[in-house]
């Protein structure tokens, strides 16, 4: 049932970058960066610039607590409730998945902006893929 016939979507492979040369220069400030052209969000994790393709991202939420703004990025993983998405395809559901990451910043305006950029990119890519699917049918 790997091919996901009969209406089930099959998993489509994607990749953010071929190698480190393609990483955007902005990652060096150790802040979250949205690389719209490559449909990728880069997260700072203990010195690394870690790319996550927009297809791996489910949604983003934001909250303010005290002096900080918190930004949570939720990823596509198996075993999630909510939304009738049981047929969400995965390449290998037996792996370990990063389900969410939460960051905080004292610069709320910047996190508002990052939140908007990720949400817009997600919408844009979902729309393009829906259009592509419609054309194929």
């Amino acid at each position: 049932d790997k091919d996901g016939k009969d209406g089930k979507q099959s998993f489509k492979r994607y990749a953010s970058y071929k190698g480190e040369l393609a990483l955007p220069k902005e990652v060096e400030d150790l802040k979250i960066h949205v690389d719209r052209r490559n449909r990728t969000v880069l997260l700072p994790v203990y010195g690394y610039a870690v790319p996550f393709h927009i297809n791996a991202i489910k949604n983003t939420s934001k909250s303010d607590e005290g002096d900080f703004t918190y930004l949570r990025i939720n990823f596509q993983t198996p075993g999630q409730v909510g939304g009738k998405k049981e047929d969400m395809p995965f390449e290998d559901p037996d792996k370990t998945f990063i389900r969410s990451v939460t960051y905080r910043s004292a610069d709320g305006a910047r996190f508002d902006n990052i939140y908007r950029q990720i949400t817009d990119l997600k919408k844009e890519v979902s729309k393009l893929e829906a259009e592509k699917r419609d054309k194929m049918d």
Partner: protein, 194 residues
């Protein structure tokens, strides 16, 4: 000891303070530009040397034999590789190994717990590493979910005398993992954090 090479704007560990690193026959010395703090590593204590692309360009990572720990310096340029590799080989008797990371952008893979780090690998290449010392708390939230909470910089560096400097970028607070584990698949209705 005279320096074989020196490099500016190098960061020690996760610090945001730039400094200068000097490589000598006997090892290396880094000094912070603002605090004048000094970090030295003797070549006898070096067990392995690695070259890794990180956020702040390239990292020289030295694995130490003494207590199995490691020391890292970020901010090297791509072109510095050959100079550093030459010193590693000629003076420290070490090969400078380039470590390849994953740039696929996937959020699934395997985790691996090593001496000092929790490593996450995508298609057998590291995606990131988290120092175990940075983990404040971990919880099992539901049968397939594990969460990690991280120490914030104030907790990591409780030194009120340290000069106030710019925040070290965005701070990672929490990470949650879906770990399928050994629970039988199929009849799963998750408790659901969603």
């Amino acid at each position: 000891m005279s320096a074989l090479a020196s490099f500016k704007n190098i960061y020690h560990g996760q610090s945001t303070e730039p400094g200068e690193i000097r490589l000598t026959h006997g090892g290396l010395a880094w000094q912070g530009t603002e605090t004048k703090a000094v970090v030295t590593v003797a070549s006898e204590s070096m067990r392995a040397a690695q070259w890794i692309r990180v956020a702040r360009s390239f990292q020289l990572r030295l694995l130490l034999s003494s207590d199995k720990r490691r020391v890292t310096f970020d901010g090297f340029h791509r072109d510095d590789h050959d100079k550093v590799a030459h010193i590693c080989k000629q003076h420290w008797d070490l090969a400078l190994d380039t470590r390849e990371l994953s740039y696929r952008g996937w959020n699934w893979g395997e985790y691996d717990i090593q001496t000092d780090d929790l490593q996450f690998l995508v298609a057998n290449k590291p995606l990131f590493e988290i120092p175990l010392s940075a983990i404040a708390n971990s919880n099992i939230a539901g049968k397939t979910e594990v969460s990690l909470e991280f120490l914030n910089p104030e907790q990591l560096k409780p030194d009120p005398a340290a000069p106030r400097r710019r925040r070290a970028g965005d701070e990672l607070v929490e990470m949650r993992f879906y770990v399928p584990g050994t629970v039988e698949r199929g009849e799963d209705d998750e408790g659901g954090e969603g």
